[in-house]
């Protein structure tokens, strides 16, 4: 039995289906990921809850997911994204890749000072041997 609250909640959930946005089941190009990103960002700015559907996705790359979802972590807080986004119809392999992309995006944006420092240190160590 559905409660009125649940029905109301469901009405406010927008489904964004990857293959419909890009018109293909090959979710591989960064520029296609950007289209998905823009759709998610618009919905987030309208304070909607979003279900990102991976239905019918065949090939999937990190380049696509970085554009579509990873860059959101530089624009919205982790808490907001956790609260507003959900995933459906994803295969286990898709989820594995998405999880790794999200982990990297969080690290990339969260602690940029440490990240840049680590990069500088690594490069500095190699100064002696570099051309």
């Amino acid at each position: 039995m559905k409660s009125p609250e649940l029905a109301k909640m469901k009405k406010n959930i927008e489904e964004i289906r990857l293959t419909e946005i890009i018109g293909s089941d090959l979710c591989i190009a960064s520029e296609d990921g950007q289209k998905v990103h823009d759709a998610i960002k618009n919905a987030l700015q309208e304070e909607k809850k979003i279900r990102i559907s991976f239905k019918n996705v065949d090939d999937l790359t990190s380049a696509f997911l970085n554009s579509a979802i990873g860059q959101l972590y530089g624009e919205f807080s982790e808490d907001d994204l956790k609260d507003s986004l959900a995933v459906s119809d994803a295969s286990h392999e898709d989820l594995l890749l998405l999880k790794r992309v999200i982990q990297r995006a969080k690290e990339f944006f969260k602690d940029k000072e440490r990240f840049e420092m680590a990069t500088r240190e690594l490069l500095g160590e190699d100064d002696a041997t570099a051309n």
Binding site: I28, A29, S62, N66, G74, A86, I102, N131
Partner: protein, 273 residues
Amino acid sequence: MSSCREAICEIDMSDVNWIDANMCAPLGAVLQSNSYENKITKIILLNMKSRIQDILQKNGFLPNFGFDVVKKPDPYGTTIEYQRFGCMDSQSFKRYVERHFRGKGLPEMTPRLAQKFRESISEIFENAIDHSKTQLGIFACGQYFPAQKRLDFSIADLGIGFRENILNCLGKGFAPEDAIEWALEGMNTTRKPKGGKPGGFGLKLIKEFIKLNRGGLYIVSDCGFWSLSQGQVYKNRFKAPFPGTIVNIEINTSDAQSYCLESEEIIDAEDIF
């Protein structure tokens, strides 16, 4: 190249006894670069052995590059067509993947392996778009070697390469072969968090996949050479630079179950963000 004078470039092919057809991608890149820099309007391949010409006609290299010959039929279906792409042309590459790697499929590969292969070359292509910063195009070509159960695919660009990209973005110099190695390690990326997208992940994923597949990954950039083959990393430096980057992947097509490892982790889709 034996001689380049005025607008004609003559290439002596008499010592060429074999060419792995996928190497047409870097060959096309070199010829394109040479033509652009020296304003060459015509390239002549001299003394080419007929079996070499056969290879270059079957995979479309000669006709697609503009030589006055027709594409030859490929009765064994082992060639993967040479093609040059615009430097931002993801959509053409998608159509290329669709045309060559779906539907008719590739022989003797599990569907999951074929998918991993397609995803890998797509990651390489996107990486080239992202980093090469070139207007001269991206070049792709492949070859299936049924007897060795091997599928090779090469993508070449005429961009700035790993060493210069790291130098420009982070301000420090690596030896060219070390620059490639750096780009394949851990969280390393030349992207800047401020106003940027996260990235620098595609080649690392391919490295993991190639290790599991017991295949090969070979990268040339500037004077640097880096390879992973049979689990072993090898680095070297060439005397002269390649005018961009070549990434070649070699898939062990007999691999039927390398991917059980990636399926062991349990992912909670409700708690992924």
